[in-house]
Symmetry: none
Subunit: 303 residues, 5 copies
Amino acid sequence: MSNAVEQIIANYAGESPGVIGNLRRLLNTGTLAGTGKLVILPVDQGFEHGPARSFAPNPAGYDPEYHVKLALEAGTNAYAAPLGFIEAVAHKYAGRVPFILKVNNSDSLGGPDEPCSALTSGVQDALRLGCTAIGYTIYPGSGLRNEQYSAIRELIAEARDVGLPTVLWSYPRGAGISKNGETALDVVAYAAHIACQLGAHIVKVKPPTDFIEQKEAQKPYAEIPKATLAERIQHVVQSCFNGKRIVIFSGGAAKGTDEVLEELRQIAKGGGNGSIMGRNAFQRSQADGSKLLKDAMQIFKSA
Amino acid sequence: MSNAVEQIIANYAGESPGVIGNLRRLLNTGTLAGTGKLVILPVDQGFEHGPARSFAPNPAGYDPEYHVKLALEAGTNAYAAPLGFIEAVAHKYAGRVPFILKVNNSDSLGGPDEPCSALTSGVQDALRLGCTAIGYTIYPGSGLRNEQYSAIRELIAEARDVGLPTVLWSYPRGAGISKNGETALDVVAYAAHIACQLGAHIVKVKPPTDFIEQKEAQKPYAEIPKATLAERIQHVVQSCFNGKRIVIFSGGAAKGTDEVLEELRQIAKGGGNGSIMGRNAFQRSQADGSKLLKDAMQIFKSA
Amino acid sequence: MSNAVEQIIANYAGESPGVIGNLRRLLNTGTLAGTGKLVILPVDQGFEHGPARSFAPNPAGYDPEYHVKLALEAGTNAYAAPLGFIEAVAHKYAGRVPFILKVNNSDSLGGPDEPCSALTSGVQDALRLGCTAIGYTIYPGSGLRNEQYSAIRELIAEARDVGLPTVLWSYPRGAGISKNGETALDVVAYAAHIACQLGAHIVKVKPPTDFIEQKEAQKPYAEIPKATLAERIQHVVQSCFNGKRIVIFSGGAAKGTDEVLEELRQIAKGGGNGSIMGRNAFQRSQADGSKLLKDAMQIFKSA
Amino acid sequence: MSNAVEQIIANYAGESPGVIGNLRRLLNTGTLAGTGKLVILPVDQGFEHGPARSFAPNPAGYDPEYHVKLALEAGTNAYAAPLGFIEAVAHKYAGRVPFILKVNNSDSLGGPDEPCSALTSGVQDALRLGCTAIGYTIYPGSGLRNEQYSAIRELIAEARDVGLPTVLWSYPRGAGISKNGETALDVVAYAAHIACQLGAHIVKVKPPTDFIEQKEAQKPYAEIPKATLAERIQHVVQSCFNGKRIVIFSGGAAKGTDEVLEELRQIAKGGGNGSIMGRNAFQRSQADGSKLLKDAMQIFKSA
Amino acid sequence: MSNAVEQIIANYAGESPGVIGNLRRLLNTGTLAGTGKLVILPVDQGFEHGPARSFAPNPAGYDPEYHVKLALEAGTNAYAAPLGFIEAVAHKYAGRVPFILKVNNSDSLGGPDEPCSALTSGVQDALRLGCTAIGYTIYPGSGLRNEQYSAIRELIAEARDVGLPTVLWSYPRGAGISKNGETALDVVAYAAHIACQLGAHIVKVKPPTDFIEQKEAQKPYAEIPKATLAERIQHVVQSCFNGKRIVIFSGGAAKGTDEVLEELRQIAKGGGNGSIMGRNAFQRSQADGSKLLKDAMQIFKSA
């Protein structure tokens, strides 16, 4: 039994043993097992940006098995993907690496006027495929905010009933938010807080910049340390119920290795629970991608 | 058995013993137990205004446990919060202080064109978490009024079926209401009356100013005493079925202690059933916030 | 057994005994029991116009019990009100005076762009509260007409299943209808007919003026006697399936006693089934309001 | 408003206004309106004993309309019968006399080995037919006791949900109860108590003899006054939650008028809430049956 | 916050906050609040043995309000009763003393061949009436054992979903168990263990004698200390998951005060969590019954 894990689990004391058990499974798998830290490999970019934009840099990635093998080989805590990618590999890999079924997805071909992903799978699929959790994206700031908050409320309840925790991708986006505002510190911290208030077990946001978007927020943020990414991460962690909810950070667009690793060091230093790293892993060669994931885990392990 | 409480309860004679029992529980808890008065600590500002704007003035408040401990230590009748904040503390505090689950919430990042909060939790959550009541916000004046009135109708019915009373936050807002009009006496009294007509067990409105918004209302209000806040509170109480429904008042934005206490004295003098005080309590230091809550309760106790 | 009542009941031969029984109950209660005539006290103005505009002229009316006592003391056939007002008195008065639960309501603070009341209670509430019928407002002429006609269709069906008849308030209103047109003879008769076609058991409209709104209607109305209110009432009665559906008339805004009584005499003379009189009754003193209701009933009794 | 009725109603404070309203309707109808006493005409003997055994003594009774007219003409509080008899008259009489739909029935042609009536109608029928209450027979002592208690539990809940109270016929019968035991004081009081514990709003039992059936009950009953029927009635009333539940008594097989009236005097003297009198009424001529019902009501009126 | 209570609560860590909250409420009410001990007043004997056998010794007990007042005045942790007794007092006492709704009951007039109580109320009733827990009787040893175990399985699940814990009365009875065997140490310990295995939150059994019923159990029980009641209680506590489930003991038939108090001292000494005392309390005069309950609580308080 890991103290680090059980300290985290204690923050979810009201949950049923089924949900708790799956949280433990996520936290006790792979290289970071028992550390209370998580590195997750997500591969929903094929759906979100199209296959070629996602997999042409490393064509092995067209094959769904490539990713789950990468996750397994690198020793990540979990592998997250949309329905089709999970279905393609679940029979062979269920029980070997925890799956997170991403139950809604957006594409870049068009859609509603306001940001809102489509429901593409559900809790029953997650059970059928042997998944350990479900994942869902909300867009705080969207004109369709109400629909998304209501939908995730029902999904979390449904998932809980069958012992599955929920990972919430919280991406601020909408008419009232500027492009820079989407990663502004005030907005990211707010989006993370909303996800926690909605009942997410694990929250995923982008690493925030030191930009402050909302006029009303200028005053409090004048006092909040935000010069380094670590400081900003620390504020996001604080905004997640003072660290009582697991919060992990995405890396965003592919970038240089040094840049990625430095970002991870800052996330670790700021007290983030880990990283969810997609394109930076699977758009590199198998060897490089795996190495990067392993290096990422070493960073969190030594944190 | 408190006469003050039983006189209030008698106004709810048609309700089931389950609803009655939970109303008694609210009225018989904490420092004001048995007085027929209520002071409630609500903490939904993290959701409504963002975490830093809410908790930076007193960073202890990022931690959900801070608030429920404050409520318990200060001796309030109840603690009201959104799903996430309640979930984070329910296992440890259920049965020790009554929870009011705020089942809809808005945020400041964006949303529908007309004022309308998102449904973020429900009656089944309230039972699961051991809550004593649910809370809901309506925006009379909103172009989405009909959707909100219909939604609360169903929620009240669902909550009643399982013995839970409903607290209705009634905040006039919309294209036809000026900024000053949102706290105008005629509009606040009207909003309180609508909440009662919708079946609310407890109504929460803002303290009204002496402004009169609606042209058609000028004439009757020429005769209604409204110079002091106490007089205006009295008219709101009258508008709540002549005092047969519990009505409590929020304090709004944080302000000076003297100002807060004077407002509470006027509310008490005007016959208001109590106060729901959030930012003024949790944005002060623990000692000051607790003292303010206790002073507030003393005012209602001596009323 | 009253012949007058049974002649009316015969027009509803296809209805279930439950609906018939409650129609009989409405027609066999109070001073007008057995006459086939109805005087109903409706108090939804607090919701529709705000509490002060409704109750300041006679502040006793802020108390929901005032109205049901007035109805009982004056001997009206029924008392109609929104959910909150009925809930506040139902335990004490159910079974003593028939309640009509007004299941939709509008307010004057704002709302959808087109006239459309909000659903504020339902058939299950009517049963729970011991009501004898439900009431609903449609706005023929509204851009949201279709939503309202569909909603009332479902409500009438649901109410019928449990033995409750439906009273339909039919108020023409919308972009294509002038202010004068709302009470024009052609428009009122048309609105009454639509209510009958929608399956209303009792129709409520405003007393029509001799104005003709619709160009296409000028020709037929040239031949229809309409000089006196009695003649116009007769035409509305005729438009209600030649008198085979019960139609009652509202008095509208409060006015002088002589004016009210003369209007009632004309309604009675024209064959109207009765009157639904709110503000004219409860905005007077208790003695005067009760006397007016009793005088109204005498007019219909002698008709 | 009758004090006698409202004192009874106060014992049902936890019920919804719908149930309360229908209890009021039963208690405020007919000759005994407002006295807190009830005389009910039940005609289920055609089903229970066959038509000729029931109606040959007064062949007018083969016609279902005969009975409801008798109830109406005599001024009873209600008319109770199985589905078919109610359906045959409901359209004409709904709203004129309260119906109690007897939703289970037994016949004398055969059936299960243990006493257990068949469910022959339901709550939805009661609403459709405009009934004021449902009635149900349990046989405490039956080997099928558990099935009956569970069934009535669900029916009472279903009826309550739509505002209908339940009358429970409680007839001890079964392998462990002797023929004399079925009307023994201990057994009748026990059966009445069970009906109250099951949630009956009105209990109907047979007038008890001074026989004591159960060995274990001999000792307490040695001290309980039981020489006169009035004393025994008083004990049954006491066993019905010390008089807080309405209990009425059947007359059983047809007998001499003097005998019937004396029994009623004793029931009234002992504090019974009334009588349910079938064969003694409808097996006499119309004039005699009506007179007997009226004499019965006089006895309770003067009590 | 009471350490004694929280140590007990920790054994139910997997339960939802709703169930936990109601367990806390039971453990934090009345004289024994915060001690981890429970004294409960149960009054189902009217149903189980008939009204006179139950209430003739102290006729005030025919009135359901007598018992809830006794529970409140004496300061017990809870009041347990069948549906009717709870319904009769719930509107007035809900929220003032925790109710345990006994959802199945047996009577002494007859029933199925094998011991099996009838379902007489349910979880929805418990919510409607504002109860804190449900209670249920199983008869291990009954030929209808399977039906009972399945039924309680479903009830516990249904109750848990709405936040209600379950108290299980476990009374060994059946063809294979001798009269003495019903209270034999091996059998009582076994019955208590079965109740725990079925998921009971609180177990109620009779104090065991030193008789050993089952041949196969003679050998292990030769080694188990059982000379004193305290030793036997200790073994039952041990059989309840080594003290990780709450177990309370009934007193059985009324007896002398000294005898009752000595039994309670032994229960307390053996580590029992408390006592459920019915006839010994309500069959005495109000003063004596209340004193006995208070003396009982003093014994557990000093334990």
